[in-house]
């Protein structure tokens, strides 16, 4: 049995750890609230632009933008993976990365990846995937400028025909306890499954259909990626808070167990001492 002093040191160490996890839990909780609000506020734009693209896919524009046309032959696929920069957030990153890996294994063709977040970048490097670009250390209040470089690379590769299809893999925020990995086809824009506008029609464009569609579709891609980043932040802080809370709870349990062991050891030592004294006095009397 370990001595009372060893156990005391152990308790101290666990207490220190639990102080840290408790502090991280509190920090994550306050960041989480802000990140969740941000994710909620940004939803309107993303939903608006998705609805527009959904409508656009059902119209019959005279100008067939490359983003709207499914290619008959897919030779190379791009995957954009959104992960966090820091760890200690439960299974969030491993879930997303496992999903991304599953998607990559399904493809019969060569794959290029673009990563957002250091965790994803490190994983893809280890895995040996060919990376076209990476964006790391995005602040807690992301702005659209943070991801424009990366989306530009992706879109240019798509337009040049170096990529024929691009997927976006990210975490979907359900609630504080639940985050789910999500895969969407970013480019070309996915085909409409449930038509809402039937018949042969087209928009009136101002100024020119080409100009409007170029601008709008660029915005669409940026907005989807940006929304994934914002949602990922909400997921990250939520997952971290939950992970840190359970770590603090675990530490509390361990301390409780150690306390009992410590008291037992202390009492055993006292009992033994008394027994020795008694034995000594019995021998001399």
């Amino acid at each position: 049995m370990a001595s009372a002093k060893d156990i005391r040191n152990q308790i101290k160490a666990v207490q220190n750890t639990s102080k840290i996890t408790k502090a991280m839990e509190l920090v994550a909780a306050s960041k989480m609230r802000k990140a969740q609000n941000r994710a909620r506020d940004a939803k309107s734009y993303a939903e608006g632009i998705e609805r527009i693209i959904h409508n656009l896919m059902q119209s019959h524009p005279e100008y067939a933008h490359p983003f709207l046309v499914e290619r008959p032959q897919v030779n190379r696929v791009g995957v954009i993976v959104v992960s966090t920069d820091k760890g200690l957030c439960g299974g969030l990153n491993s879930n997303v990365l496992r999903h991304a890996l599953g998607l990559m294994r399904e493809q019969q063709v060569k794959i290029d990846v673009l990563t957002i977040g250091r965790r994803g970048a490190a994983f893809m490097r280890r895995f040996g995937a060919n990376s076209l670009g990476s964006r790391e250390e995005i602040s807690d209040a992301p702005v659209i400028g943070d991801i424009i470089g990366l989306t530009k690379i992706a879109m240019n590769h798509f337009i040049d025909g170096k990529l024929d299809r691009i997927f976006l893999v990210s975490s979907e925020f359900i609630n504080t306890m639940t985050q789910r990995p999500k895969v969407v086809q970013l480019l070309p824009c996915p085909e409409v499954r449930e038509p809402t506008h039937s018949g042969y029609w087209d928009y009136l464009y101002e100024p020119e259909s080409r100009e409007v569609l170029d601008g709008l579709l660029t915005r669409y891609v940026e907005s989807l990626v940006f929304n994934a980043v914002i949602e990922n932040k909400a997921c990250e802080h939520s997952a971290r808070m939950v992970a840190m809370k359970s770590a603090s709870d675990n530490a509390k349990d361990i301390i409780k167990d150690l306390r009992i062991t410590y008291n037992k050891a202390r009492q055993a030592a006292i009992t033994q001492e008394i027994a020795e004294i008694c034995a000594g006095s019995a021998a001399t009397s």
Partner: protein, 135 residues
């Protein structure tokens, strides 16, 4: 008769509600849109968006973006937007000055296109405020 309108920027929702009539700063000139308008897709330039609801007019300054019109829905995706009530003339003036500086200082390494588009936004915003003041 009215039509639901949504005005949003990438960061937040600016306006959601029904409108009887709407005027937007289209890239090729002002667009007046009534309910049941034919489908329209247009770029927007910096300027004023007016949403008429009954006798009330809601004014939003937008710095460019896109508008999609469907007979039963109008969606405006703005790069940035400010309700008339939250915009401050001093801040607008400051922004114009900064943008002008940026344009004056262009010597190769400053992005001219960006500076002039910033100037266009700042100037449009200031014009709009001045017009408001006169009323």
């Amino acid at each position: 008769m009215s039509v639901p309108v949504l005005v949003a920027t990438a960061e937040r929702e600016v306006y959601r509600g029904d409108a009887d009539f709407l005027v937007a700063p289209g890239a090729a000139g002002e667009l007046g849109i009534m309910p049941n308008h034919a489908p329209l897709l247009s770029a927007l330039k910096p300027g004023e968006l007016r949403v008429h609801v009954g006798d009330h007019i809601d004014e939003v300054f937008i710095s460019g973006g896109f508008i999609e019109v469907q007979p039963n829905m109008i969606t405006i995706l703005a790069d940035s937007a400010e309700r008339a009530t939250d915009i401050d003339e001093a801040a607008a003036l400051e922004a114009t000055r900064k943008a002008e500086d940026g344009e004056a200082n262009r010597n190769g390494d400053i992005d001219y296109a960006r500076a002039s588009s910033e100037l266009a936004i700042a100037a449009a915003r200031l014009d709009w405020l001045r017009k408001k003041k006169r009323h």
